[in-house]
Symmetry: C2
């Protein structure tokens, strides 16, 4: 976070740059086509790690400022070594982060000041599904709950900002509506 005299900053969002970006996309919609990527390598047992670095967008291949790696594993109670969160917990994090990033932009664009935002996300899963012990239980979460606590400007405006974030969240869309996933295998 840098101190700046930029008058278009609100909640740390540069609203002038945000509106300029939207105008640029409106003028050339090809800019808006992005492709994100994660490369996962198996380590041992249920332990594996993903690296996130490059992505395509604005008509070019780009890199994040660092190549971040994230360990995933199962906890001891699920016969793992607990070297990192479970994949399903990363999914909950992705949902929370998407809603919070979005609402910060939306609040700034609407001139609504934020003081604090916390989103607690919980998902219920019955492992009878993935353990193959019941055909009636699904493999994934049966439901996910998000609980927001916000402080800042007028509560009605804050609630409206959360609602608009839900309506424009990439992860919320994918989780609630589903997405086609294809899998290719090169086994040698």
């Amino acid at each position: 976070m840098t101190t700046t005299a930029n008058n278009s900053l609100r909640n740390g969002v540069d609203t002038a740059a945000l509106f300029a970006t939207i105008d640029a996309v409106r003028a050339d919609p090809e800019i808006a086509k992005f492709r994100f990527r994660a490369v996962n390598k198996w380590v041992n047992g249920t332990h594996n790690e993903s690296t996130i670095h490059g992505f395509y967008g604005a008509k070019q291949e780009m890199d994040h400022q660092a190549a971040w790696t994230f360990d995933a594993d199962h906890p001891a109670v699920l016969v793992g070594d607990d070297n990192g969160p479970t994949p399903t917990e990363y999914l909950l994090h992705a949902l929370a982060a998407c809603l919070v990033s979005g609402l910060a932009n939306i609040a700034a664009a609407r001139g609504v000041n934020l003081e604090s935002v916390t989103a607690t996300v919980e998902g219920d899963i019955d492992l009878l599904g993935i353990l193959g012990l019941s055909d009636e239980v699904r493999n994934g979460f049966e439901q996910i709950r998000v609980a927001f606590t916000l402080q800042g400007d007028d509560p009605d405006k804050l609630r409206a900002v959360v609602e608009q974030s839900r309506l424009r969240s990439a992860v919320y869309d994918v989780l609630t509506n589903g997405v086609p996933v294809t899998i290719e295998v090169d086994a040698g």
Copy 2:
């Protein structure tokens, strides 16, 4: 990774413990009800971070061995400060990690040896949706592709292990079939 004389270890998976766990769940299905959790706090702008620590399972509240935190942000080209991956990249990581953790267990259970596993996951997203510039473009990924490269035992067995992992993946299920998400807001 520890060196051990445990004869039930394959691919780093303790298959005896895995089968014992499945037997325990079969005897008492309540053990299988889990609740995972992530708590996200807004930092500044599109930058926020989630903490993953506690979860409920096997009839009790438990903690991972550490409270892990993960930064999420938008990259500079999307008017963020690039303090971490985008939420959508964490979603791709969650999918990759779930498939890889699962296939390691399945391979071990079937007596199939793994040497190396890499899963590259890509998702295509047109930002005209989340930027509110088109009603015909969805907010989330239009499609996700997973490309596996595996080495180990017989290629046909490796391909069958990937397929079974897909059939038993919690994250794959949620992404392809969707999940109900509820949002509550406490604004003050």
